[in-house]
Protein backbone atom coordinates (compact mmCIF):
# COMPACT_ATOMS: atom_id res chain seq x y z
CA UNK A 1 0.00 0.00 0.00
CA UNK A 2 2.64 2.48 1.09
CA UNK A 3 4.97 1.26 -1.64
CA UNK A 4 2.40 2.12 -4.32
CA UNK A 5 2.03 5.65 -3.03
CA UNK A 6 5.64 6.49 -2.21
CA UNK A 7 8.99 5.66 -3.72
CA UNK A 8 11.70 3.92 -1.71
CA UNK A 9 13.65 7.16 -1.57
CA UNK A 10 10.70 9.11 -0.15
CA UNK A 11 10.17 6.49 2.56
CA UNK A 12 13.81 6.67 3.62
CA UNK A 13 13.76 10.46 3.49
CA UNK A 14 10.69 10.73 5.74
CA UNK A 15 11.98 8.14 8.20
CA UNK A 16 15.42 9.75 8.37
CA UNK A 17 13.94 13.17 8.97
CA UNK A 18 11.83 11.84 11.82
CA UNK A 19 14.72 9.76 13.12
CA UNK A 20 16.98 12.80 13.34
CA UNK A 21 14.31 14.65 15.30
CA UNK A 22 13.97 11.70 17.68
CA UNK A 23 17.71 11.41 18.27
CA UNK A 24 18.51 15.12 18.43
CA UNK A 25 17.78 15.65 22.16
CA UNK A 26 20.04 12.70 23.06
CA UNK A 27 22.88 13.93 20.85
CA UNK A 28 22.43 17.47 22.10
CA UNK A 29 22.65 16.23 25.68
CA UNK A 30 25.89 14.31 25.03
CA UNK A 31 27.37 17.13 22.98
CA UNK A 32 26.64 19.81 25.57
CA UNK A 33 27.86 17.58 28.41
CA UNK A 34 31.33 17.52 26.85
CA UNK A 35 31.70 21.28 26.31
CA UNK A 36 33.73 23.78 28.29
CA UNK A 37 31.52 26.36 30.07
CA UNK A 38 32.47 29.03 27.51
CA UNK A 39 31.46 26.80 24.57
CA UNK A 40 27.94 26.07 25.82
CA UNK A 41 26.10 29.22 24.81
CA UNK A 42 27.71 29.64 21.40
CA UNK A 43 25.69 29.84 18.21
CA UNK A 44 25.98 28.26 15.71
CA UNK A 45 26.61 25.30 18.00
CA UNK A 46 29.63 23.04 17.66
CA UNK A 47 28.24 19.50 17.64
CA UNK A 48 31.56 17.85 18.38
CA UNK A 49 33.32 19.63 21.23
CA UNK A 50 37.10 19.78 20.77
CA UNK A 51 38.63 18.71 23.06
CA UNK A 52 35.85 16.75 24.83
CA UNK A 53 35.62 17.82 28.47
CA UNK A 54 35.00 14.51 30.23
CA UNK A 55 35.72 16.22 33.54
CA UNK A 56 32.18 17.68 33.44
CA UNK A 57 30.95 14.28 34.59
CA UNK A 58 33.38 14.30 37.52
CA UNK A 59 32.40 17.87 38.30
CA UNK A 60 28.69 16.98 38.39
CA UNK A 61 29.54 14.08 40.71
CA UNK A 62 31.47 16.45 42.95
CA UNK A 63 28.68 19.04 43.15
CA UNK A 64 25.92 16.58 44.06
CA UNK A 65 26.05 13.01 45.45
CA UNK A 66 25.06 11.38 42.17
CA UNK A 67 26.99 8.27 43.18
CA UNK A 68 24.69 7.90 46.16
CA UNK A 69 21.58 8.61 44.04
CA UNK A 70 22.77 6.00 41.58
CA UNK A 71 23.23 3.37 44.29
CA UNK A 72 19.76 4.23 45.67
CA UNK A 73 18.20 3.85 42.24
CA UNK A 74 19.94 0.51 41.71
CA UNK A 75 18.80 -0.78 45.12
CA UNK A 76 15.21 0.38 44.66
CA UNK A 77 14.96 -0.89 41.08
CA UNK A 78 16.52 -4.28 41.86
CA UNK A 79 14.49 -5.02 44.98
CA UNK A 80 11.17 -3.76 43.52
CA UNK A 81 11.73 -5.95 40.47
CA UNK A 82 12.65 -9.08 42.46
CA UNK A 83 9.73 -8.49 44.81
CA UNK A 84 7.28 -8.05 41.96
CA UNK A 85 8.52 -11.21 40.25
CA UNK A 86 8.04 -13.30 43.39
CA UNK A 87 4.53 -12.05 44.19
CA UNK A 88 3.56 -12.30 40.52
CA UNK A 89 4.76 -15.89 40.04
CA UNK A 90 2.90 -17.10 43.12
CA UNK A 91 -0.35 -15.17 42.56
CA UNK A 92 -0.53 -15.92 38.84
CA UNK A 93 -0.07 -19.62 39.58
CA UNK A 94 -3.05 -19.56 41.95
CA UNK A 95 -5.22 -17.80 39.36
CA UNK A 96 -4.12 -20.05 36.49
CA UNK A 97 -3.87 -23.48 38.07
CA UNK A 98 -5.79 -23.70 41.35
CA UNK A 99 -9.58 -23.84 41.52
CA UNK A 100 -10.79 -22.04 44.61
CA UNK A 101 -13.91 -20.31 45.81
CA UNK A 102 -14.12 -16.69 44.81
CA UNK A 103 -11.41 -16.93 42.17
CA UNK A 104 -13.30 -15.07 39.43
CA UNK A 105 -14.60 -12.41 41.81
CA UNK A 106 -11.16 -11.73 43.23
CA UNK A 107 -9.57 -11.61 39.80
CA UNK A 108 -12.20 -9.19 38.51
CA UNK A 109 -11.73 -6.99 41.57
CA UNK A 110 -7.99 -6.84 40.93
CA UNK A 111 -8.48 -6.05 37.24
CA UNK A 112 -10.91 -3.32 38.26
CA UNK A 113 -8.19 -1.59 40.26
CA UNK A 114 -6.23 -1.11 37.04
CA UNK A 115 -8.82 1.49 36.00
CA UNK A 116 -7.88 3.71 38.92
CA UNK A 117 -5.14 6.27 38.28
CA UNK A 118 -2.19 6.00 40.67
CA UNK A 119 -2.73 9.61 41.79
CA UNK A 120 -5.83 8.46 43.71
CA UNK A 121 -3.62 6.26 45.89
CA UNK A 122 -1.08 8.98 46.61
CA UNK A 123 -2.55 10.60 49.71
CA UNK A 124 -3.70 7.48 51.62
CA UNK A 125 -0.44 5.68 50.87
CA UNK A 126 1.53 8.62 52.17
CA UNK A 127 -0.54 8.59 55.35
CA UNK A 128 -0.09 4.81 55.68
CA UNK A 129 3.68 5.17 55.38
CA UNK A 130 3.68 7.97 57.92
CA UNK A 131 1.85 5.68 60.37
CA UNK A 132 4.34 2.90 59.69
CA UNK A 133 7.21 5.34 60.18
CA UNK A 134 8.59 4.48 56.75
CA UNK A 135 8.91 7.98 55.27
CA UNK A 136 12.44 8.57 54.00
CA UNK A 137 13.38 4.87 54.09
CA UNK A 138 14.07 2.27 51.42
CA UNK A 139 10.93 0.43 52.49
CA UNK A 140 8.79 3.38 51.37
CA UNK A 141 10.47 3.40 47.97
CA UNK A 142 10.25 -0.36 47.48
CA UNK A 143 7.48 -2.20 49.35
CA UNK A 144 4.42 -0.49 47.79
CA UNK A 145 5.77 -1.43 44.36
CA UNK A 146 6.46 -5.11 44.94
CA UNK A 147 3.15 -6.31 43.50
CA UNK A 148 1.37 -5.40 40.30
CA UNK A 149 -2.02 -6.44 38.97
CA UNK A 150 -0.80 -5.84 35.45
CA UNK A 151 2.12 -8.24 35.92
CA UNK A 152 -0.11 -10.91 37.51
CA UNK A 153 -2.53 -10.60 34.61
CA UNK A 154 0.25 -10.86 32.02
CA UNK A 155 1.95 -13.83 33.66
CA UNK A 156 -1.32 -15.67 34.23
CA UNK A 157 -1.91 -15.50 30.46
CA UNK A 158 1.45 -17.16 29.91
CA UNK A 159 0.81 -19.88 32.49
CA UNK A 160 -2.56 -20.64 30.88
CA UNK A 161 -0.81 -21.24 27.57
CA UNK A 162 1.31 -24.04 29.09
CA UNK A 163 -0.37 -27.39 28.33
CA UNK A 164 -2.14 -28.82 31.39
CA UNK A 165 -0.79 -32.29 30.64
CA UNK A 166 2.55 -31.09 31.95
CA UNK A 167 1.01 -30.79 35.37
CA UNK A 168 -0.32 -34.33 35.30
CA UNK A 169 3.05 -35.66 34.18
CA UNK A 170 4.75 -33.89 37.07
CA UNK A 171 2.12 -35.27 39.44
CA UNK A 172 2.93 -38.79 38.36
CA UNK A 173 6.58 -38.09 39.07
CA UNK A 174 5.55 -37.12 42.58
CA UNK A 175 6.34 -33.40 42.38
CA UNK A 176 4.19 -31.22 44.63
CA UNK A 177 2.62 -27.97 43.40
CA UNK A 178 5.38 -25.79 44.72
CA UNK A 179 8.20 -27.78 43.15
CA UNK A 180 6.25 -28.13 39.91
CA UNK A 181 5.86 -24.34 39.72
CA UNK A 182 9.50 -23.50 40.42
CA UNK A 183 11.22 -26.37 38.64
CA UNK A 184 9.02 -26.72 35.58
CA UNK A 185 6.70 -23.78 34.95
CA UNK A 186 9.11 -20.96 35.80
CA UNK A 187 11.91 -22.22 33.52
CA UNK A 188 9.44 -22.75 30.65
CA UNK A 189 8.02 -19.25 30.95
CA UNK A 190 11.36 -17.54 31.50
CA UNK A 191 11.07 -15.21 28.47
CA UNK A 192 7.80 -13.82 29.86
CA UNK A 193 9.40 -13.27 33.25
CA UNK A 194 12.36 -11.47 31.68
CA UNK A 195 9.92 -9.17 29.87
CA UNK A 196 7.95 -8.45 33.04
CA UNK A 197 11.18 -7.76 34.92
CA UNK A 198 12.48 -5.40 32.24
CA UNK A 199 9.26 -3.37 32.05
CA UNK A 200 9.26 -3.13 35.83
CA UNK A 201 12.91 -2.10 36.00
CA UNK A 202 12.41 0.69 33.44
CA UNK A 203 9.33 1.96 35.26
CA UNK A 204 11.02 1.81 38.64
CA UNK A 205 14.21 3.53 37.46
CA UNK A 206 12.26 6.39 35.87
CA UNK A 207 9.64 6.82 38.62
CA UNK A 208 9.49 10.37 39.90
CA UNK A 209 6.40 11.58 41.74
CA UNK A 210 6.41 8.87 44.42
CA UNK A 211 10.15 9.06 45.30
CA UNK A 212 9.84 12.84 45.31
CA UNK A 213 7.12 12.68 47.93
CA UNK A 214 8.47 9.97 50.24
CA UNK A 215 12.10 11.11 50.41
CA UNK A 216 13.12 14.09 52.53
CA UNK A 217 16.85 13.72 53.01
CA UNK A 218 19.48 14.01 50.34
CA UNK A 219 20.79 10.53 51.16
CA UNK A 220 17.53 8.82 50.20
CA UNK A 221 16.94 10.45 46.82
CA UNK A 222 16.78 8.38 43.68
CA UNK A 223 18.39 9.64 40.47
CA UNK A 224 15.40 11.49 38.95
CA UNK A 225 14.69 13.27 42.25
CA UNK A 226 18.37 14.10 42.69
CA UNK A 227 18.47 15.48 39.16
CA UNK A 228 15.58 17.90 39.68
CA UNK A 229 17.23 19.10 42.89
CA UNK A 230 20.46 19.56 40.94
CA UNK A 231 18.75 21.83 38.37
CA UNK A 232 18.48 24.52 41.04
CA UNK A 233 22.01 23.86 42.33
CA UNK A 234 23.67 23.96 38.92
CA UNK A 235 21.80 27.07 37.77
CA UNK A 236 22.85 27.78 34.20
CA UNK A 237 25.81 25.37 34.10
CA UNK A 238 24.18 23.48 31.25
CA UNK A 239 27.23 21.33 30.57
CA UNK A 240 26.92 19.91 34.11
CA UNK A 241 23.15 19.57 33.87
CA UNK A 242 23.48 17.58 30.66
CA UNK A 243 26.12 15.33 32.24
CA UNK A 244 23.79 14.74 35.19
CA UNK A 245 20.88 13.95 32.84
CA UNK A 246 23.09 11.41 31.11
CA UNK A 247 23.57 9.59 34.45
CA UNK A 248 19.81 8.95 34.48
CA UNK A 249 19.26 8.29 30.78
CA UNK A 250 22.27 6.26 29.64
CA UNK A 251 21.76 3.17 31.86
CA UNK A 252 18.23 2.65 30.51
CA UNK A 253 19.34 3.23 26.92
CA UNK A 254 22.02 0.56 27.38
CA UNK A 255 19.48 -1.81 28.96
CA UNK A 256 17.11 -1.18 26.08
CA UNK A 257 19.73 -1.82 23.41
CA UNK A 258 20.70 -5.08 25.14
CA UNK A 259 17.18 -6.42 25.62
CA UNK A 260 15.30 -4.64 22.87
CA UNK A 261 13.48 -7.72 21.62
CA UNK A 262 12.08 -8.57 25.06
CA UNK A 263 10.99 -5.03 25.84
CA UNK A 264 9.34 -4.44 22.48
CA UNK A 265 7.61 -7.82 22.61
CA UNK A 266 6.36 -7.17 26.12
CA UNK A 267 4.84 -3.82 25.26
CA UNK A 268 3.25 -5.10 22.03
CA UNK A 269 1.81 -8.07 23.89
CA UNK A 270 0.44 -5.98 26.71
CA UNK A 271 -1.17 -3.65 24.19
CA UNK A 272 -2.68 -6.30 21.97
CA UNK A 273 -4.23 -9.33 23.64
CA UNK A 274 -1.46 -11.91 23.23
Amino acid sequence: MVRDALSKGTIYLLLSLGGVLMLLPFLWMLSTSLKAPNQVAVLPPAWVPVPPHWENYAEALRMAPFGRYFVNSVIVTTLSTIGELLTTILAAYAFARIRFWGREVLFSLLLGTMMVPGEVLLVPNYLTLTKLGWIDTYAALIVPWTASVFAIFLYRQHLLSVPRELGYAARVDGAGDFRFLWEILVPITKPALVTIALLKAIGSWNAFLWPLIVTNSREMRTLPVGLTAFTTEAGTAYELLMAASAFVIVPMVVLFLLFQRHIVEGISRAGIKG
Binding site: L15, M22, P25, A41, L227, T228, S245, I267, S268
Partner: protein, 297 residues
Protein backbone atom coordinates in the same frame (compact mmCIF):
# COMPACT_ATOMS: atom_id res chain seq x y z
CA UNK B 1 -4.53 -28.70 38.65
CA UNK B 2 -7.38 -29.54 41.01
CA UNK B 3 -10.65 -30.00 39.25
CA UNK B 4 -13.03 -28.79 41.95
CA UNK B 5 -12.75 -26.12 44.64
CA UNK B 6 -12.25 -27.73 48.02
CA UNK B 7 -11.35 -26.51 51.47
CA UNK B 8 -7.81 -27.70 50.82
CA UNK B 9 -7.56 -25.90 47.50
CA UNK B 10 -8.87 -22.72 49.14
CA UNK B 11 -6.07 -22.74 51.68
CA UNK B 12 -3.53 -23.63 49.06
CA UNK B 13 -4.65 -20.66 46.94
CA UNK B 14 -4.55 -18.42 49.99
CA UNK B 15 -0.93 -19.40 50.55
CA UNK B 16 0.03 -18.55 46.97
CA UNK B 17 -1.92 -15.30 46.92
CA UNK B 18 -0.87 -14.02 50.33
CA UNK B 19 2.24 -12.02 49.35
CA UNK B 20 0.63 -10.25 46.38
CA UNK B 21 -2.63 -9.61 48.21
CA UNK B 22 -0.84 -8.23 51.26
CA UNK B 23 0.90 -5.58 49.17
CA UNK B 24 -2.05 -4.88 46.85
CA UNK B 25 -4.46 -4.85 49.77
CA UNK B 26 -2.52 -2.26 51.73
CA UNK B 27 -1.25 -0.11 48.87
CA UNK B 28 -3.88 -0.44 46.12
CA UNK B 29 -7.26 -1.71 47.28
CA UNK B 30 -7.47 -0.05 50.69
CA UNK B 31 -6.34 3.40 49.43
CA UNK B 32 -8.93 3.41 46.64
CA UNK B 33 -11.66 3.36 49.29
CA UNK B 34 -9.86 5.38 51.89
CA UNK B 35 -9.16 8.11 49.33
CA UNK B 36 -12.86 8.27 48.49
CA UNK B 37 -13.73 8.54 52.17
CA UNK B 38 -11.04 11.14 52.73
CA UNK B 39 -12.44 13.29 49.93
CA UNK B 40 -15.66 13.64 51.98
CA UNK B 41 -13.95 14.76 55.20
CA UNK B 42 -15.49 18.16 55.76
CA UNK B 43 -14.10 18.84 59.20
CA UNK B 44 -11.31 16.79 60.70
CA UNK B 45 -8.28 16.79 62.92
CA UNK B 46 -5.28 14.92 61.56
CA UNK B 47 -3.30 15.03 64.76
CA UNK B 48 -5.87 13.09 66.68
CA UNK B 49 -7.30 11.33 63.67
CA UNK B 50 -10.84 12.48 64.35
CA UNK B 51 -13.45 13.37 61.75
CA UNK B 52 -16.08 15.76 63.06
CA UNK B 53 -18.22 15.96 59.95
CA UNK B 54 -18.57 14.39 56.51
CA UNK B 55 -19.76 16.39 53.51
CA UNK B 56 -19.16 17.46 49.94
CA UNK B 57 -17.28 20.59 51.05
CA UNK B 58 -14.05 19.58 49.28
CA UNK B 59 -15.80 19.11 45.96
CA UNK B 60 -17.58 22.44 46.42
CA UNK B 61 -14.22 24.00 47.19
CA UNK B 62 -12.81 22.66 43.90
CA UNK B 63 -15.73 24.09 41.94
CA UNK B 64 -15.03 27.51 43.42
CA UNK B 65 -11.26 27.40 43.06
CA UNK B 66 -10.13 29.34 39.97
CA UNK B 67 -6.81 27.45 40.12
CA UNK B 68 -8.63 24.16 39.72
CA UNK B 69 -10.47 25.41 36.64
CA UNK B 70 -7.19 26.75 35.29
CA UNK B 71 -5.67 23.29 35.80
CA UNK B 72 -8.59 21.62 34.02
CA UNK B 73 -8.39 24.06 31.11
CA UNK B 74 -4.65 23.59 30.73
CA UNK B 75 -4.95 19.82 30.94
CA UNK B 76 -7.70 19.78 28.31
CA UNK B 77 -5.62 21.98 25.99
CA UNK B 78 -2.64 19.73 26.51
CA UNK B 79 -4.62 16.54 25.77
CA UNK B 80 -6.14 18.09 22.63
CA UNK B 81 -2.72 19.27 21.51
CA UNK B 82 -0.94 15.98 22.09
CA UNK B 83 -3.28 13.09 21.33
CA UNK B 84 -4.57 13.72 17.78
CA UNK B 85 -1.15 14.85 16.55
CA UNK B 86 0.66 11.95 18.18
CA UNK B 87 -1.86 9.42 16.84
CA UNK B 88 -1.71 10.72 13.27
CA UNK B 89 2.09 10.92 13.23
CA UNK B 90 2.62 7.53 14.84
CA UNK B 91 0.17 5.79 12.50
CA UNK B 92 1.90 7.35 9.48
CA UNK B 93 5.32 6.33 10.77
CA UNK B 94 4.11 2.82 11.60
CA UNK B 95 2.90 2.41 8.01
CA UNK B 96 6.34 3.45 6.77
CA UNK B 97 8.23 1.28 9.26
CA UNK B 98 6.25 -1.76 8.16
CA UNK B 99 7.94 -1.84 4.77
CA UNK B 100 10.24 -4.78 4.21
CA UNK B 101 13.25 -2.66 3.42
CA UNK B 102 16.78 -2.78 4.78
CA UNK B 103 17.47 -0.65 7.84
CA UNK B 104 13.93 -0.67 9.24
CA UNK B 105 14.98 -2.36 12.49
CA UNK B 106 17.46 0.42 13.18
CA UNK B 107 14.80 3.06 12.53
CA UNK B 108 12.44 1.32 14.94
CA UNK B 109 15.11 1.38 17.64
CA UNK B 110 15.62 5.10 17.14
CA UNK B 111 11.91 5.92 17.29
CA UNK B 112 11.46 3.81 20.39
CA UNK B 113 14.37 5.22 22.36
CA UNK B 114 12.42 8.07 24.07
CA UNK B 115 9.95 5.54 25.53
CA UNK B 116 12.51 3.99 27.90
CA UNK B 117 13.93 7.38 28.80
CA UNK B 118 13.31 9.09 32.13
CA UNK B 119 10.76 11.85 31.56
CA UNK B 120 12.42 14.03 34.16
CA UNK B 121 15.91 13.70 32.68
CA UNK B 122 14.86 14.28 29.10
CA UNK B 123 12.75 17.26 30.21
CA UNK B 124 15.89 18.80 31.67
CA UNK B 125 17.49 18.34 28.25
CA UNK B 126 14.45 19.91 26.53
CA UNK B 127 14.66 22.80 28.94
CA UNK B 128 18.00 23.56 27.38
CA UNK B 129 16.66 23.03 23.85
CA UNK B 130 13.80 25.46 24.60
CA UNK B 131 16.16 28.15 25.93
CA UNK B 132 15.08 31.50 24.44
CA UNK B 133 18.52 32.85 23.57
CA UNK B 134 20.78 29.81 23.22
CA UNK B 135 18.33 26.97 22.69
CA UNK B 136 18.65 24.67 19.73
CA UNK B 137 15.01 25.05 18.76
CA UNK B 138 15.06 28.83 18.35
CA UNK B 139 18.39 28.55 16.55
CA UNK B 140 16.88 26.16 13.99
CA UNK B 141 13.78 28.38 13.68
CA UNK B 142 16.04 31.37 13.02
CA UNK B 143 17.09 29.72 9.73
CA UNK B 144 13.51 30.25 8.62
CA UNK B 145 13.46 33.86 9.79
CA UNK B 146 11.47 33.18 12.96
CA UNK B 147 12.43 35.54 15.78
CA UNK B 148 13.23 33.90 19.16
CA UNK B 149 10.19 32.36 20.85
CA UNK B 150 10.15 32.64 24.69
CA UNK B 151 9.15 28.98 25.05
CA UNK B 152 9.44 28.51 28.79
CA UNK B 153 9.27 32.09 29.99
CA UNK B 154 6.02 33.33 28.49
CA UNK B 155 2.60 32.07 29.65
CA UNK B 156 1.51 31.86 26.04
CA UNK B 157 4.11 29.27 25.09
CA UNK B 158 4.26 27.12 28.24
CA UNK B 159 1.57 24.63 27.18
CA UNK B 160 2.75 24.49 23.55
CA UNK B 161 6.25 23.61 24.86
CA UNK B 162 4.79 20.81 26.96
CA UNK B 163 2.84 19.58 23.93
CA UNK B 164 5.95 19.45 21.71
CA UNK B 165 7.85 17.48 24.35
CA UNK B 166 4.96 15.08 24.97
CA UNK B 167 4.44 14.33 21.28
CA UNK B 168 8.14 13.59 20.89
CA UNK B 169 8.05 11.32 23.94
CA UNK B 170 4.88 9.40 23.06
CA UNK B 171 5.51 8.60 19.39
CA UNK B 172 7.58 5.48 19.99
CA UNK B 173 5.05 3.68 22.16
CA UNK B 174 2.16 4.47 19.80
CA UNK B 175 4.18 3.37 16.77
CA UNK B 176 4.91 0.07 18.47
CA UNK B 177 1.25 -0.65 19.24
CA UNK B 178 0.21 0.36 15.72
CA UNK B 179 2.87 -1.94 14.26
CA UNK B 180 1.54 -4.82 16.36
CA UNK B 181 -2.02 -4.01 15.25
CA UNK B 182 -1.05 -3.75 11.59
CA UNK B 183 0.77 -7.06 11.63
CA UNK B 184 -2.34 -8.74 13.03
CA UNK B 185 -4.40 -7.77 9.96
CA UNK B 186 -4.52 -10.60 7.39
CA UNK B 187 -3.05 -9.50 4.06
CA UNK B 188 -5.91 -11.11 2.15
CA UNK B 189 -8.10 -8.03 2.49
CA UNK B 190 -5.61 -5.68 0.96
CA UNK B 191 -4.89 -8.12 -1.86
CA UNK B 192 -8.61 -8.34 -2.59
CA UNK B 193 -8.84 -4.55 -2.76
CA UNK B 194 -5.82 -4.57 -5.07
CA UNK B 195 -7.58 -6.96 -7.41
CA UNK B 196 -10.48 -4.50 -7.45
CA UNK B 197 -8.07 -1.77 -8.59
CA UNK B 198 -8.43 0.33 -5.46
CA UNK B 199 -5.82 3.08 -5.21
CA UNK B 200 -3.32 3.04 -2.34
CA UNK B 201 -5.28 5.77 -0.56
CA UNK B 202 -8.60 3.93 -1.00
CA UNK B 203 -7.03 0.73 0.28
CA UNK B 204 -5.81 2.48 3.39
CA UNK B 205 -9.00 4.39 4.06
CA UNK B 206 -11.52 1.62 3.29
CA UNK B 207 -9.58 -1.50 4.22
CA UNK B 208 -6.65 -1.01 6.58
CA UNK B 209 -7.98 1.83 8.68
CA UNK B 210 -11.36 0.20 9.56
CA UNK B 211 -9.64 -3.11 10.35
CA UNK B 212 -7.22 -1.25 12.58
CA UNK B 213 -10.07 0.34 14.59
CA UNK B 214 -9.57 -1.73 17.79
CA UNK B 215 -5.89 -0.80 17.87
CA UNK B 216 -6.62 2.86 17.19
CA UNK B 217 -9.17 2.82 19.98
CA UNK B 218 -6.69 1.26 22.39
CA UNK B 219 -3.93 3.73 21.50
CA UNK B 220 -6.25 6.71 21.82
CA UNK B 221 -7.56 5.63 25.23
CA UNK B 222 -4.06 5.02 26.57
CA UNK B 223 -2.83 8.31 25.10
CA UNK B 224 -5.70 10.33 26.54
CA UNK B 225 -5.30 8.85 30.02
CA UNK B 226 -1.54 9.31 29.88
CA UNK B 227 -1.78 12.91 28.69
CA UNK B 228 -4.39 13.63 31.33
CA UNK B 229 -1.95 12.65 34.06
CA UNK B 230 0.93 14.82 32.90
CA UNK B 231 3.15 15.88 35.79
CA UNK B 232 6.84 14.98 35.51
CA UNK B 233 7.34 17.12 32.40
CA UNK B 234 5.82 20.17 34.08
CA UNK B 235 7.91 19.77 37.21
CA UNK B 236 11.16 19.31 35.32
CA UNK B 237 10.62 21.88 32.54
CA UNK B 238 9.67 24.67 34.92
CA UNK B 239 11.95 23.84 37.85
CA UNK B 240 9.35 22.52 40.28
CA UNK B 241 6.82 25.23 39.49
CA UNK B 242 3.71 25.37 37.36
CA UNK B 243 5.32 27.52 34.69
CA UNK B 244 5.32 31.30 34.20
CA UNK B 245 2.31 32.79 36.05
CA UNK B 246 1.17 29.17 36.68
CA UNK B 247 0.35 28.90 32.99
CA UNK B 248 1.35 25.21 32.89
CA UNK B 249 -0.63 24.16 35.96
CA UNK B 250 -2.09 20.74 35.16
CA UNK B 251 -4.52 18.58 37.10
CA UNK B 252 -1.94 16.27 38.67
CA UNK B 253 0.28 19.25 39.44
CA UNK B 254 -2.69 20.78 41.24
CA UNK B 255 -3.16 17.57 43.25
CA UNK B 256 0.57 17.54 44.04
CA UNK B 257 0.49 21.15 45.26
CA UNK B 258 -2.59 20.67 47.40
CA UNK B 259 -1.20 17.51 48.95
CA UNK B 260 2.51 18.14 49.22
CA UNK B 261 2.88 21.88 49.51
CA UNK B 262 -0.33 22.85 51.28
CA UNK B 263 -0.94 19.56 53.17
CA UNK B 264 -4.61 19.86 52.22
CA UNK B 265 -5.15 16.09 52.03
CA UNK B 266 -8.92 16.08 51.72
CA UNK B 267 -8.99 18.50 48.79
CA UNK B 268 -6.14 16.60 47.12
CA UNK B 269 -8.12 13.36 47.49
CA UNK B 270 -11.23 15.01 46.05
CA UNK B 271 -9.23 16.36 43.10
CA UNK B 272 -7.75 12.91 42.48
CA UNK B 273 -11.25 11.45 42.36
CA UNK B 274 -12.25 14.11 39.85
CA UNK B 275 -9.26 12.98 37.77
CA UNK B 276 -10.42 9.37 38.06
CA UNK B 277 -13.97 10.29 37.05
CA UNK B 278 -12.81 12.36 34.07
CA UNK B 279 -10.48 9.67 32.71
CA UNK B 280 -13.26 7.13 33.18
CA UNK B 281 -15.81 9.28 31.32
CA UNK B 282 -13.34 10.00 28.53
CA UNK B 283 -12.74 6.28 28.12
CA UNK B 284 -16.49 5.65 27.86
CA UNK B 285 -16.82 8.50 25.38
CA UNK B 286 -14.09 7.05 23.18
CA UNK B 287 -15.71 3.65 23.41
CA UNK B 288 -18.99 5.18 22.28
CA UNK B 289 -17.37 7.08 19.40
CA UNK B 290 -15.53 3.92 18.39
CA UNK B 291 -18.77 1.93 18.33
CA UNK B 292 -20.58 4.61 16.33
CA UNK B 293 -17.86 4.71 13.71
CA UNK B 294 -17.65 0.94 13.55
CA UNK B 295 -21.38 0.42 13.02
CA UNK B 296 -22.14 3.36 10.77
CA UNK B 297 -19.68 2.50 8.06
Amino acid sequence: MDERPTVASFFKAAFYLAPALAVLGVFTIYPIFSSLLLSFYADYDYFHDVVYRFGVDNYVYLLHDPSFWQALRNTALFVLGVVPASLALSLGLALLLRQRLPGMAAFRTVYFLPVVTSVVAISVVWRWIFHTDYGLLNYVLSWFGVSPVPWLTSPRWAIPSLIILAIWKSLGYNILIFLAGLSAIPEVYEQAARVDHATAWQRFWHVTFPLLAPTTFFVSVVSVIDAFKVFDEVYALFGGNAGPVRSALTLVFYIFEKFYREQDYAVAAAASYVLFLLTFLLTLLQLWIGRKIAYNR
